[in-house]
């Protein structure tokens, strides 16, 4: 009988919380023409010496990346107000900014506080609570987190959609030249900063998947010379092996309630099929029954359906399966001869997929109602799309001079960026869900 057993990652594999020096170069590959112009004025510094951190720079980058905003170039700013009564609105109207954000950074306790205000340039009116300026605090070593929270507040105030700039991503990093490579499982801020290695191995690591509470990652590791699925708590590093059956153990995907994993097994006969595995009871239920390759399950937000990739009709295409009645599968993708790795959008209305687009593997979204497809990315070998928890942006891996790097594209396809991390090859980014409570440190 297969027992789940807990393994602490002390031997054979190393676990370390080292913050790698992530020197990121951000390359804007596409920018939106009708994004809302906004001025994020450099924050004032209310103490002696130079300001410890450029909050406005991170805020502007976040907002631009969302595809909804076009932050004004700093060089265009003729004035640097740091509070509302210093803003000369006619100047900013002349610069064609619809909104302006002014603020300052100040020491507070062991760390810093940022306070800021958002104004409508046309009306001169302050947005949000009329009384106090908004205030965000953080430790000295968390200034990027502070800046992302400022961006979250601005984004939500102006769009009505919760900002996702404070969220994290997980990805796989590979270094070295084949056939000898070193693989790492890395967690970072969504923009690739603050990288932390969770697991490091000489055997492949793949398919990371966040638990719905954002506390754990399921992933595939070949460390025992065969594929096995592990679940690891991000904060403590504690982990369990949850599936190490004969053949493939792959493509783990958490159900929305976090109690079940959908996964791919090939068992002894080599038939690649999707199953569900209830984590507590270890009850395994088969979800696909045809002799082709069935893999890459993704749950609908109500947990009643699975979207899978199957080549039952010849090439890989996306199908929808009712979890309670899995024998019937309905085809969802119809454009192009290769559609793989479906991921359901947070609102449940779209699927992100990898599609073969005139000889190139690209990221596309399929509208589940109309079944229409829109290709979003422009690379040659783009892979692993993953939605931001607010649905505004997708993160994926693309090739940059023969190396895998992180990239984002807004789900309307209007804004795209590439993060050219200097070390190794980045694969399979997956965007974490919103954390239940605002991240306090």
């Amino acid at each position: 009988m297969k027992k789940t057993f807990a393994v602490f990652v002390c031997f054979a594999l190393s676990w370390f919380a080292a913050a790698a020096n992530a020197q990121l170069v951000i390359e804007i590959t596409k920018s939106a023409e009708d994004a809302v112009p906004i001025a994020i004025v450099p924050f004032g510094w209310s103490s002696s010496g130079a300001a410890p951190f450029d909050v406005a720079e991170v805020v502007a980058a976040d907002l631009r990346r969302s595809g909804r905003f076009a932050p004004l170039d700093r060089k265009e700013m003729i004035d640097r107000p740091t509070q509302g009564d210093q803003i000369r609105f006619q100047d900013w109207r002349y610069l064609k900014s619809d909104f302006i954000v002014v603020g300052k950074l100040m020491p507070e306790g062991q760390g810093y506080a940022a306070q800021f205000e958002i104004y409508n340039v046309l009306t001169g009116q302050k947005l949000g609570q009329p009384s106090d300026p908004r205030r965000v605090t953080a430790n000295a070593n968390n200034m990027r987190a502070l800046s992302h929270r400022v961006a979250d507040i601005i984004f939500e105030q102006l769009t009505g959609v919760r900002g996702a700039f404070s969220t994290r991503v997980a990805f796989v990093n590979a270094e070295g030249t084949p056939p000898k490579q070193r693989y790492k499982l890395v967690v970072s801020d969504y923009d690739g900063e603050n990288q932390r290695t969770l697991l490091s191995s000489d055997e492949p690591i793949m398919s990371p998947a966040w638990s719905p509470d954002g506390q754990s990652l399921a992933y595939v590791s070949f460390e025992s010379k065969a594929s096995a699925i592990y679940v690891q708590t991000v904060r403590t590093g504690e982990r369990k092996r949850v599936s190490a059956r004969a053949g493939i153990n792959g493509a783990p995907a958490w159900s929305p309630d976090g109690k079940t994993l959908a996964l791919t097994l090939s068992r002894k006969d080599g038939d690649v099929d999707v199953y569900t595995l209830e984590l507590n009871s270890q009850v395994l239920t088969r979800m696909t029954f045809d002799p082709g390759i069935d893999t890459e399950p993704s749950w609908s937000s109500d947990g009643k359906k699975l979207y899978i990739n199957s080549d039952r009709a010849g090439g890989p295409q996306i199908y929808e399966i009712e979890v309670d009645n899995p024998k019937r599968a309905t085809r969802v993708s119809f454009e192009g001869g290769y559609n793989a790795r479906p991921r359901v959008s947070p609102d449940g209305k779209q699927l992100a997929v990898v599609t073969l687009d005139r000889g190139n593997y690209r990221i596309a979204v399929i509208d589940l109602a109309s079944k229409g497809m829109q290709v979003l990315s422009e690379g040659r070998q783009d892979e692993s799309p993953s939605f931001a928890p607010n649905g505004a942006v997708l993160i994926y891996a693309t090739q940059d001079r023969g190396r895998g790097v992180l990239a984002t594209v807004s789900t309307d396809g209007r804004t795209a960026e590439r993060f050219t991390n200097t070390v190794g090859e980045v694969r399979e980014p997956v965007w974490a869900p919103f954390s239940p409570a605002p991240n306090a440190n």
Binding site: P179, M206, S207, I248
Partner: protein, 174 residues
């Protein structure tokens, strides 16, 4: 005796080259594992030194000479005619050495999605497994693993690299 053995190895090397098989950097190492089991070796060395090659050794040499990698076409898992003799040589060796086990490592090229490529690698490993079993190799002599595109043999994003990466490696345990 030594000389004939060396000649045999040299001849196998020539045959390998003549077969038009690509040089296999990693495969050289894995093919070292294609050897008599330690017990057999012990029995031999306790005797009069290296006498004539045992039947097992001969089958092993033949399998080694035939090659330890089967290559595939894009998105396909059929064993191409030129690799039928490779599989046959390994089947012969395994039939004569029922205690030996082979591990079939399936791989794909880097194109497309990773988990689908795991499926493709598995399908290729299963194709070789079935071919071995049709030739009498027993189920418990074979294990399969698919690495998909995760462990390429060579780096590169052109057809030549893709062709070398779409493969099943036959690896013998010790």
């Amino acid at each position: 005796m030594r000389v004939t053995q060396l000649m045999l190895i040299a001849v196998s090397g020539l045959m390998l080259a003549a077969c038009g098989n690509k040089p296999l950097p990693e495969a050289q190492n894995t093919s070292e594992a294609v050897g008599p089991s330690t017990s057999t070796q012990g029995a031999d060395s306790s005797g009069v030194g290296s006498s004539a090659l045992s039947a097992e050794q001969q089958a092993m040499e033949a399998a080694k000479a035939a090659g330890v990698i089967v290559y595939f076409d894009y998105d396909r898992a059929e064993i191409k005619p030129e690799f039928v003799p490779v599989v046959a040589a390994h089947a012969k060796f395994l039939n004569g050495s029922p205690q030996r086990k082979v591990r079939l490592e399936g791989h794909s090229d880097e194109r497309g999605s990773r988990e689908y490529n795991i499926g493709l690698g598995e399908r290729r490993a299963q194709a070789v497994r079935r071919a071995l079993m049709l030739q009498g190799v027993t189920e418990n002599q074979i294990t399969t693993v698919s690495y998909g595109e995760e462990r390429p043999a060579v780096q590169g994003s052109d057809e030549s690299a893709y062709g070398k990466n779409r493969r099943v490696e036959l690896v013998y345990g010790r």
